[in-house]
Symmetry: C2
Amino acid sequence: MAATPSSERALAEFVAIPSVSSDPSRTADLRRAADWVASRLAFAKPRVVETAGHPVVLGELRAAREAPTILVYGHYDVQPAGDEAGWETPPFVARVRDGRLYARGASDDKGPVVVALETARRFVEYGSLPVNVRFLIEGEEEIGSPSLPAFLAAHRDELAADLVVSADGAMWRASEPSIPVAAKGLLALDIVVTGPASDLHSGRHGGAVQNPNHALAAIVAGLHDRNGAVAVPRFYDDVVPVELGDVPFDEDAYRRETGAPALHGEPGYSTLERLWTRPTLEVNELRGGGAFTVIPREARAYVTCRLVPDQDPERVLAAIERHVAAPAGVEVRVEVRPGAVPAYALDVDHPAVRAAQDALRSVYPDREPLLVRIGGTLPAAAMFEQVLGLKTLLFSFSTADENLHAPNEFFRLARLHEGVAAWSELWRRLGATSLYG
Amino acid sequence: MAATPSSERALAEFVAIPSVSSDPSRTADLRRAADWVASRLAFAKPRVVETAGHPVVLGELRAAREAPTILVYGHYDVQPAGDEAGWETPPFVARVRDGRLYARGASDDKGPVVVALETARRFVEYGSLPVNVRFLIEGEEEIGSPSLPAFLAAHRDELAADLVVSADGAMWRASEPSIPVAAKGLLALDIVVTGPASDLHSGRHGGAVQNPNHALAAIVAGLHDRNGAVAVPRFYDDVVPVELGDVPFDEDAYRRETGAPALHGEPGYSTLERLWTRPTLEVNELRGGGAFTVIPREARAYVTCRLVPDQDPERVLAAIERHVAAPAGVEVRVEVRPGAVPAYALDVDHPAVRAAQDALRSVYPDREPLLVRIGGTLPAAAMFEQVLGLKTLLFSFSTADENLHAPNEFFRLARLHEGVAAWSELWRRLGATSLYG
């Protein structure tokens, strides 16, 4: 029995379940997806465990001999299909074109989860398991994993392990095997400017009161200097310099990919350093007033900061609060959003990183694996560290270009084979490695 | 037969017709309102004339002897009711409380139109008409009078007159009889900043491209100095200084009315000067991005300038276009909206102003009428000047505090009597005045 058809069929079944965690009408589909994962883990004492939100699937396999224990993490929930008109084929039907399987969730995270399940199945059927394996496949990753911290705390003993191996967290590029060794943290907040008690007609009252839109613009303009550096004093205080080493990066190709007229960012750093090693402050939304000729009573900016290792979200928030001052004639407040996450980092000399490099070299012998960083945030990795004290190795076989969170999401089918081969080799290497020290 | 019950009943009938010009489902109600006006003008050869939009009601009365001709302007259309939950009584049912008739359109502009119709009826029934009177009551004022310029041009001969007397344009305050001698013009435009070709994930791409929200904030922040003056070079170039004279104004009461923490505006001018004599630039909307953690591909500001006499909308637009420069990494364009209107002004020594002052003194003998200015825009007055070469006297008996465009709009019933008395006296004075200059 060949692995390929089986795992491809499995992925086709899995993506056909529209397990959209943000859609309350899909609760039964989330449960179906959890049950489907459990059915594929029939050899691993699967349990579908309720949480305050969508269930978590647990499983457990014992190694043939004394061995480290890994906790395999992934998620069975997916993003909404979004604009269905943007899809070339229906989002919840697997369609294969040019070696790619198209469907919502194919890349994030159902394809990589199938890789992990298939790896386990092959060891159980054909070989001798080199590590103890626990599985934790959750259903709320796309909504920020709200139930996960409490779940981890409540199941601490069952989840005891030496390392988390995550099937989530896409590889940087399809052509370059890579291992992420850091992901940025997240601090989200709103800057809210209030002025008059209600919207005022801007003809009758214009020029006599401060317009919250003008005040907000002045505040937002003061968050960066004209060159693109964050202008909030002490924002960069705790940032530790990082040497990226030799990572090939074509700035012009990247500019074309973004479609921006020019690249732009903090002076003194390359684009790759800005993306990977420097904290950012981005205004995701400006909103004040509307189509009417009024001075609005309120204007708001939604701001997210991506933090790097050693930055404390609380200290960054305090720096922003100190910096954001009300212009004359309005009041300003900073409202932090829940769920701030510090940056995540794995030491490049951690034995799990070396094992992962070796595993990738065995599958891609002609390409030296890159150590890369992720500009986005992986809340689960921070939760595993905070609640269980476990480091997480990100070992996903999806790729960042596979239209995650967009129409026409796809997964490269060759990655099913490559992924199972690499995961198998990783488990063998980890079984021969001390993860304790 | 007393005028009061008749005109009050008439207003109650008129406001019961939900003639919301912006609502396509109300077309028949607009027609009903036009027919209602025509029926009240039965003595004046009424005609309901089709336009590209809602019809115009025309009428004509000849004076007993050689006399000037006035063109009475008003509108039978109204704003939408808006939030019906905000209304204490149904918006399209006249309800009288404390000497006020509550209903959508009671103040803007059905009460003042009833005053004009009732004035004509009384002259026809009881007296000798001192002026020739033409009526033009339109149905598109609340949507910017889009059909009016073409209508005026097509009916130039039928509309020949010496002066427009407008029943639209509210008095400043209930306690102080006043005559507006100026209204501000309007220039509306959008500032559009474009950056990347599509929304970019702000984790994956933050810090490497210019965020259109940041660029827009910098541009908007550059439109005013920190003290509140417009910072666009040449913006104030053509502004002619105006002496307001002695107009009582309580700044603290005004601040409380707006609910703003403090008043704020162009240094060197009083609040009343800022409201009445200084041009303004207000950002009515800021909009970029949304609830997702993206760098949006576009951010926009909707801007309206209120212009004062001698400012040319084209020149002000050019000054703004020169001033709005693209920060690094994005592109910026200024899109003007159609319908720019220059300011309107009537010389304080115009014979119509003197006649209006005398008419107000006859009705309010203990209060000297104020000459006031309007911060808002009266496109119709500009159209009468541009197309027919006619000046407009604003002689409305509604008041700016009557919840125009808001829930619980009302009209002070005493103003029906006072208005008919003042309009009658105005017509007598105009009949004895040379309006030819």
